[in-house]
Amino acid sequence: MCIGGRAGSHRDWHGVDAMSRKSIGLRTWLIQRLSAVYMMLFVVCFAIYFASNTPSSFLEWRTMMANSFVAITTTLFFLSLLTHAWIGMRDVLMDYLHADSIRLALLTIVGFSLLGGAIWIMKILLTVSV
């Protein structure tokens, strides 16, 4: 049994269905890189934008974040971050934890925490109004 390794059917046993397992790994690899590219672009752009329009009061800060473009691109940043963190944490936990029960418990905690974070940040950023 391989928790977190997405063992679908009994054919996955001992890598018999190696092709689909490889393509799942490839998909994960791609998601990790696409989310990284988006975060890199966002952080650089946001840092430049923030440095050139640094808000000096609550109202200015809130006005900046209430802008739909800023709010949506920032939400996308956090969703990329949480997805990226899920793949990274999953890889780390699967490398160091080999007992199925502990692995499943921690992966569940991490997964639900990240899902909660996604809902939390959407609630915050998508309801900001001036």
């Binding site: 952080v43 609550f58 800060w61 963190a85 944490m89 780390v92 940040i121 915050i124």
Partner: protein, 125 residues
């Protein structure tokens, strides 16, 4: 069956680790540290946007030395992870895969991460 009696040598203090290994390990540590700080970041972002009092609370946190230290550690985590990520992109594109260039780029990543952290430290002083 896996041979459970096979010799395993994993004394990390005695293995001579190349700089690429240090980099790879640092990539993981910085990632996990940033993962742990995500809820704090979301909480502070929400607080700063919630009310003028919340905004004041968050901005006044920067007066605390401990908070600044935390920000600096996270800045190192972020910049290291960022540059190491660019290095992994280049390796994916078959750029600098050989030992000499791999070693060179690994040192560059370590240096760039520390450089950004020092710049941040100077800006915060």
């Amino acid at each position: 069956m896996e041979n459970k009696k096979r010799p395993v040598f994993l004394d990390l203090t005695r293995i001579d680790m190349p700089v690429m290994a240090v980099l790879s390990f640092a990539h993981r540590i910085t990632g996990v540290l940033m993962f742990i700080s995500i809820p704090v970041a979301i909480y502070l972002l929400g607080l700063s946007l919630s009310s003028p009092q919340g905004y004041e609370t968050v901005t006044s946190l920067f007066d605390s030395g401990l908070f600044r230290l935390g920000i600096l550690i996270l800045l190192w985590c972020f910049s290291h992870h960022f540059f190491a990520g660019i290095r992994y992109f280049m390796l994916d594109l078959d750029i600098g895969v050989d030992v000499i260039n791999g070693r060179r780029s690994a040192w560059c990543v370590l240096g760039a991460g520390l450089a950004v952290t020092v710049i941040g430290m100077v800006l915060m002083l």
